[in-house]
């Protein structure tokens, strides 16, 4: 029952996204232009720490921009309709899955643009990609929940940013640590950090699953 609802809701999100492509195009262009601006200001970056930090900061802002709209674009009538048709858990899980897919596309594009302009210094690409995908999942689940909160409180972008920044720091720090390992190409994978990342993702998704039903009704 739940999985069926989730499936339909994800299809709905996809259809809506494809119907007005400018939103998707806008966010992809946002990533590319941010990387280009960084390229013009930095030229080539060879210091791993700087490369890494800049990459994740660009991705963080792009993700916030991409996900901020996930509840804002829903009109009141449409939300009401959705709530009569589906359970709150289905709504939040479908949004999380859809946003993770979006962020995976976004982060892959970000990596490509970054490689093209600023240069690629990653020595352990598989680990970096795993980090990137897990990071997309974590970002999307946390930011989807925060965007649901922000959408109830006047919907402004500033609120979204100040609500999400302090609570996204744990995730971001683990991600930066893991991707730094990937860049340095350390021989042994640090399974501890991967486990922590997995645990963080699980906690965020579980909290969203439990708490969303208190948010959705007005």
């Amino acid at each position: 029952m739940l999985s069926k609802q989730i499936k339909y809701l994800i299809i709905k999100e996809l259809k809506l996204e494809l119907r007005n492509k400018y939103a998707l195009g806008g966010i992809l262009l946002y990533v590319v232009s941010t990387v280009f601006i960084s390229y013009l200001s930095f030229k080539k970056i060879v210091t791993p720490a700087t490369w890494n930090a800049l990459f994740w900061i660009i991705l963080l802002f792009a993700s916030i921009n991409a996900i901020a709209k996930s509840f804002i674009t829903e009109t009141k009538g449409r939300l009401l309709y959705m709530y009569t048709m589906a359970s709150p858990q289905a709504v939040i899980i479908s949004k999380i899955i859809y946003n993770s897919l979006l962020l995976i596309v976004l982060s892959t594009l970000c990596l490509l643009a970054y490689t093209l302009f600023i240069g690629n210094i990653i020595q352990d690409l598989p680990l970096f990609l795993i980090t990137l995908f897990m990071g997309s999942l974590g970002f999307s689940s946390l930011l989807t929940m925060v965007s649901a909160i922000a959408s109830k409180a006047g919907n402004n972008f500033t609120l979204m940013a100040i609500l999400s920044f302090p609570i996204i720091i744990p995730l971001l720090m683990v991600l930066i640590k893991l991707s730094k390992n990937a860049i340095d190409g350390l021989e042994r994978w640090d399974l501890n950090y991967l486990a922590i990342l997995m645990l963080l993702n699980l906690i965020i998704i579980a909290l969203s699953y439990l708490l969303f039903r208190y948010l959705w009704r007005d």
Partner: protein, 221 residues
Amino acid sequence: MKKNWWKIIAIAFVLYTIIAGFIVPVPAQPILHETIRNLYFHVPMWFSMMTILFVSLWHSIKYLNKSNIQSDIIATQAANVGMLVGALGLVTGSVWAKYTWGAWWVADTKLNGAAITMLIYLAYFVLRGSIDEEQKRARIAAVYNIFAYVLLIVFLMILPRMSDSLHPGNGGNPGFNNYDLDSNMRMVFYPAVIGWILLTVWIFTLRVRIEKLKRKKLFND
């Protein structure tokens, strides 16, 4: 009087902390010297903050269950008082850091954790400020409070793994309990912790009462 015995304990213990904290001899440690007395003031602030923020979390959960506006008042005021003791903890810690590490602020796991705690609860108040409707504000703030508190606790648990720290009790540095704290200091430190926590709770109960009276007046006018 029977109900207020803990307030008397609070006054007695805090007074004892202030007097004994400056008089009772302390072990002569290198670098720390007399600043070790700050232990009686700085550390209990964080204990009080975590206690009172837990009260805030508890009442946020209670609000989501029962939708009783009283729980919301308690949760807010607890977070308020938590910010107050948190700020005092930052100030006392900053002064201590200046005299022992040589800087007001250093990039350190414990300090980052404290800063993030403050940011989360400031965001919580901004969120509250941006919603007008009372029930809705209470509900959404409660959701954010729970979400943020759980992530904060996880963060405070994983943070020490991320890097070494100057702060006692982290990254190979011994906590005070191991050998710095002699029996003299224990005699002051434990009452200090209890005293400051009780004082914080007292401030919190006063704030809750003031808030309730304000609302009563609002309804009567």
